[in-house]
């Protein structure tokens, strides 16, 4: 289980994440929602140890996150981050070299499912293909926690289905999935819990079905209430 306690991160004068406390439990799929700049990415980066909080702490199974937790926590960033010289095959080899939970067979299966080949140069991929490559290499790990930052951003409808299926495929009672998005509808039926971030604060965490049953509200309705618009970037 992962726990954030009063986590704050500042970049210069700007506060990116402000006093966020949050527990992520296994067996759940979280939709982390909020407009760009609401602190989703920074929070994810702190959980995986890429960024270090100014105050507060992040615990994975009771101990602070760091080198050991990175073995079990997989993170996929929005932006491409592979070395310019790499092909899709090199990306796979790199992950195999560093992550014990990475499966080359699974990677190859996902690549062909996404209609990608190993000889494709990372540098020359279109944004849609890059998004597929990133998700394939991330989901080929057998991690305990997956943090996927905007995996559906800039991707056509068909590819979205592939990616959503990929996410569902990884779901299991001992796995935690966190998918961030500013597109609410995409995640509505896939996620069971919604995390709403606004202006570097955590606004609320709520069960999606409970919300519908108790107040007849969908995630999109709640999103509108919180942000004052319908989840479309303004």
């Amino acid at each position: 289980m992962l726990e954030c306690r009063e986590v704050t991160k500042k970049y210069g004068r700007k506060t990116a994440v402000d006093g966020v406390s949050l527990k992520l439990e296994p067996g759940r799929i979280y939709a982390m929602l909020g407009p760009n700049g609401s602190g989703k990415t920074t929070l994810m980066k702190m959980i995986v140890g890429l960024a270090k909080p100014n105050s507060g702490e992040i615990l994975y199974n009771g101990s602070p996150v760091g080198v050991a937790s990175r073995r079990e926590i997989a993170y996929m960033s929005t932006e491409p981050y592979f070395y310019a010289w790499m092909t899709a095959g090199d990306v796979g080899k790199y992950y195999r070299d560093f992550f014990e939970d990475f499966s080359m067979e699974q990677y190859e299966r996902l690549l062909s499912q996404m209609e990608l080949t190993k000889d494709l140069k990372a540098k020359t991929l279109s944004s849609g293909m890059m998004a597929k490559l990133k998700i394939a290499v991330t989901m080929a790990r057998k991690a305990k926690i997956y943090l996927l930052d905007e995996p559906l951003n800039g991707i056509d409808l068909l590819a979205r289905d592939e990616i959503v299926r990929c996410v569902l495929d990884a779901a299991s009672p001992d796995v935690t999935l966190v998918v961030s998005s500013h597109l609410v509808d995409e995640l509505e039926k896939v996620a069971d819990t919604a995390i709403f971030m606004k202006e570097s604060h955590l606004v609320s965490v709520c069960g999606i079905d409970e919300m519908r049953e108790q107040s007849g509200k969908s995630v999109a309705d709640r999103y509108r209430e919180i942000y004052g618009h319908g989840g479309v970037e303004q």
Binding site: R13, K52, G66, Y81, Y83, W85, F98
Partner: protein, 247 residues
């Protein structure tokens, strides 16, 4: 750590290959000049080889600083810092790979020079005559040299060591730029000034140390000092990265 080093080596492979290619051209010109008594070839060969040797070592070092800067300040940083490796391992892989590359490059050129000397000596017959040829070539660059055969290697190694120390100062400056000075205005300039001050500082400190009698001892001391400082700087840099670095 060997896996990290493998990728560090791969990152700057291209420039190493280019350097090798130029060296091969220089060497070919040198040998052609030597065997066909083509004097221009000899001049071109020797000057190309010298430039490759000196600038190669400089370039390999500077490129590693550029790569390190990129590894901290672009999205590429995720490649390193997502892996289950700590900052000491990540930095260590860079330092060791780069140090080794510089030493091996140096050694390679030293051996090549020695080989070329030998070949030339055999070809020309008398080493004296050959050294005169080289002196003539060097005079064209308005460089004058005096050759002390025993001390050459150790001087050379001491220079390499101090270059590695300088690079370690560079690593620290780059990390400070990305951590302590991050988000501040002129952080790059501040880091550069820090680099110059620290370089001056460690040189001054060395000059305070007692001067040994022989040149050999002097150079050995210099080498040991460089490595000691580089090691201390590595510790400090890794420590700062581990605590403060957000990529």
């Amino acid at each position: 750590m060997s896996k990290l080093m493998k990728y560090e080596f791969r990152k700057n492979l291209l420039s190493k290959l280019v350097l090798l290619a130029f060296t091969a051209v220089g060497e070919a010109a040198f040998l052609l000049g030597l065997f066909l008594k083509w004097e221009n070839g000899l001049v071109i060969g020797i000057s190309t080889l010298m430039i490759c040797g000196m600038f190669g070592i400089l370039y390999v070092g500077i490129e590693s600083l550029v790569t390190f800067h990129r590894d901290l300040n672009t999205k590429q940083s995720y490649m390193l810092f997502l892996t289950p490796r700590n900052s000491f391992q990540i930095l260590g892989a860079k330092v060791v790979e780069n140090g080794l590359t510089i030493f091996l490059t140096g050694l390679f050129y030293a051996l090549l020079t020695f080989l070329d000397f030998t070949v030339a000596a055999i070809r020309i017959g008398r080493i004296k005559e050959f050294i005169d040829v080289i002196k003539n070539v060097l005079e064209n660059f308005s460089v004058s040299v005096t050759v002390h055969s025993e001390d050459i290697l150790i001087v050379f190694l001491a220079i390499l060591a101090s270059w590695i120390m300088t690079l370690a100062i560079g690593y620290l400056a780059i990390v400070l730029c990305a951590t302590v000075f991050a988000g501040k205005r002129l952080s790059g300039l501040i880091s550069f000034v820090f680099f110059l001050l620290l370089s001056w500082g460690v040189t001054s400190l060395f000059n305070v140390l007692p001067d040994p009698e022989t040149m050999m001892m002097q150079n050995l001391l210099s080498m040991g000092y460089s490595f000691a400082i580089a090691l201390v700087l590595y510790g400090i840099t890794g420590w700062v990265m581990e605590r403060k670095l957000s990529v």
